[in-house]
């Protein structure tokens, strides 16, 4: 039974004269390669050119601030619990008077560290977070580190900068 009409019956009889003198096939083949010679190249020269990896790419982590610039993280530790690689650790602290502009909730993370050698970029921290505080950016990769002393990223590298805010597709 035929499922589709795409089946081609190949008959391998004797080669015709044109096939046996090779030359027509060779010239045809050279035409094909010449066409590719002038075709557009598919290569992306990586360090200089980067391709958009899509809205679901999971890259460098960021600790978001809210609209007023206060950190959203409340140091509940759910991300650390969710992390299968145990890459996240934090120290919670109580917000003092006068720090309302800095931290949104009464409790905040005074230390928040991600070990980038342990992190597997699964995105479970992002899913676990009840405060929409941690995200894996879709357009930024973790920078290259050359030494073990550089692999633990603290708040200085993770907290969002107000002059360079992170926006994902579909957000305002």
């Amino acid at each position: 039974m035929k499922l589709s009409n795409k089946t081609k019956v190949l008959e391998q009889g004797d080669m015709t004269f044109a096939e046996r003198i090779y030359l027509p096939a060779i010239i045809g083949g050279m035409g094909t390669t010449l066409k590719h010679f002038f075709a557009k190249k598919v290569t992306i020269r990586y360090p200089e050119q980067k391709r958009y990896l899509g809205p679901v790419f999971r890259g460098h982590h960021i600790l978001k601030r809210d609209e007023d610039g206060a950190e959203r993280c409340t140091a509940c530790g759910l991300c650390a619990v969710a992390c299968p690689a145990e890459a996240i650790s934090m120290v919670a602290d109580e917000r003092k008077k006068g720090e309302e502009k800095l931290y949104r909730e009464e409790k905040y993370a005074s230390v928040y560290e991600i070990n980038m050698l342990r992190c597997i970029f699964c995105g479970l921290c992002e899913e676990a977070c009840p405060k929409q505080a941690i995200y894996l950016q879709h357009d930024k990769m973790v920078p290259v580190f050359e030494d073990r002393s550089q692999v633990i990223f603290g708040k200085d590298k993770l907290v969002e900068k107000m002059d360079n805010r992170y926006l994902r597709e579909g957000w305002k």
Binding site: F17, I26, G29, T33, L34, H36, F37, V42, R45
Partner: protein, 387 residues
């Protein structure tokens, strides 16, 4: 006395320049081979070393020199060293008789022929040296004391010998037309657009196929066939000795391109030569001719690479079948055809157009007859099968 010494200096400079051009072209062939391969596969190729990667040959050379120069313990040490040297030597010797240009007037009555040496057996010199070239491969493969290297070397030897026959026979037709073995005379008979390709379409096809085989290039690169022989004759070679083998292959490509241009494409002839000669003088015209010849040779280098990245490799029996049962009878037919073409025109003082017409019509007639014959054979066979 004065003239002799000026001529000597000029010739020495000329030889040095040709040497440098040959080596430079060979070095950049490696780069362009990779670029052309990449372009034909929709990639960009080496582009990291310098702008557009033009320093890549330099980087490759440094890499080659820095590698360990390994000589296998069980090898014949002196032959092992002699192999690549011989390959390089023979590759460089061939350019001596290729006329790179017409005559330069250096003043004071000194006329410099832009040719290494105009011997009256020029084309035989090329053939002799090219046949010697296989010794480099053979000695290298033998001295390695490695079965794959030996098989590669033997393949190279038998392949070169087989294809030299057809190549020599295709040259004979050229010699019939020009009446001389001297490369200079062959080029001079082709001036003003009377290129031999017009008279020898079949001969050129035979010659270029044989040139592919002689240079061990794809589709005939069986001596270094990776899928069967690891690396072929240079399996055991490393460092600059391997570099010499690869380098000599590229030099051979350039020189065989130059020889093809000399024999079939008018050598240093180019359209508008007379106009340049009258307007700008002899020296400019001759130098443009050098450019024309090198341009033609480089075009053939491109064709070599173009074919390499288009065609797969022949099987060894197919290679031998093509050489012995295909090209040699064809080149014999070509000699007969050329003789007939010359005979037709012998009475009216050798009219060119009749010669051209006879050679092309002869080739077409041959194709038609062979096609018809093979069709009848095919039908007969089919009848037998169905009956």
């Amino acid at each position: 006395m004065e003239i002799t010494s000026t001529l000597f200096t000029a010739k020495a400079i000329y030889v040095g320049v040709i040497f440098a051009i040959t080596l430079g072209v060979a070095a950049y062939s490696t780069y362009f081979e990779r670029i052309i391969a990449a372009f034909m596969q929709d990639r960009v190729g080496p582009d990291r070393a310098g702008p557009f990667g033009i320093l890549q040959p330099l980087a490759d050379a440094v890499k080659m020199f820095m590698k360990e120069d390994f000589i296998p313990a069980q090898s014949d040490k002196w032959l092992f060293i002699a192999g690549p040297c011989l390959s390089m030597l023979t590759a460089l010797l061939t350019s001596a008789v290729v006329p790179f240009g017409d005559t330069l007037d250096l003043g004071n009555g000194v006329m410099l022929d832009l040719q290494g040496i105009d011997v009256n057996i020029g084309i035989l010199w090329v053939f002799g040296i090219v046949s010697l070239g296989v010794y480099g491969v053979l000695i290298g493969g033998w001295a390695s004391n490695n079965k794959f290297a030996l098989i590669g070397a033997i393949r190279a030897a038998s392949q070169n010998i087989s294809y030299e026959l057809a190549m020599g026979l295709s040259i004979i037709a050229i010699l019939m037309l020009s009446g001389s073995l001297s490369t200079k005379t062959i080029v001079e008979t082709q001036q003003n657009g009377h290129w031999n390709i017009l008279y020898q379409p079949l001969g050129f096809v035979i010659f270029i196929v044989c040139a592919f085989a002689e240079c061990n290039r794809t589709p005939f690169d069986l001596p270094e066939c990776e899928t069967e022989l690891i690396g072929g004759y240079h399996t055991e070679y490393s460092s600059m000795k391997l570099g010499f083998y690869l380098f000599s292959e590229y030099i051979n490509m350039f020189i065989s391109g130059a020889v093809m241009a000399t024999l079939y494409f008018g050598g240093y002839d180019y359209p508008g030569h007379d106009f340049i000669l009258n307007k700008f003088g002899m020296n400019i015209a001759a130098l443009l001719g050098v450019g024309a010849l090198i341009g033609k040779a480089l075009f053939f280098v491109f064709v070599f690479m173009w074919v390499r990245w288009t065609l797969p490799r022949f099987r060894y029996d197919q290679l031998m079948g093509l050489g012995w049962t295909g090209l040699i009878p064809l080149s014999m037919f070509n000699v007969v055809l050329t003789g007939a073409a010359m005979l037709f025109t012998v009475n009216d003082g050798g009219s060119n157009w009749i010669t051209v017409a006879v050679s092309w019509v002869g080739v077409i007639l041959m194709l038609v007859v062979t096609a018809f014959y093979s069709q009848t054979q095919y039908n007969k066979k089919k009848k037998l099968v169905t009956a």
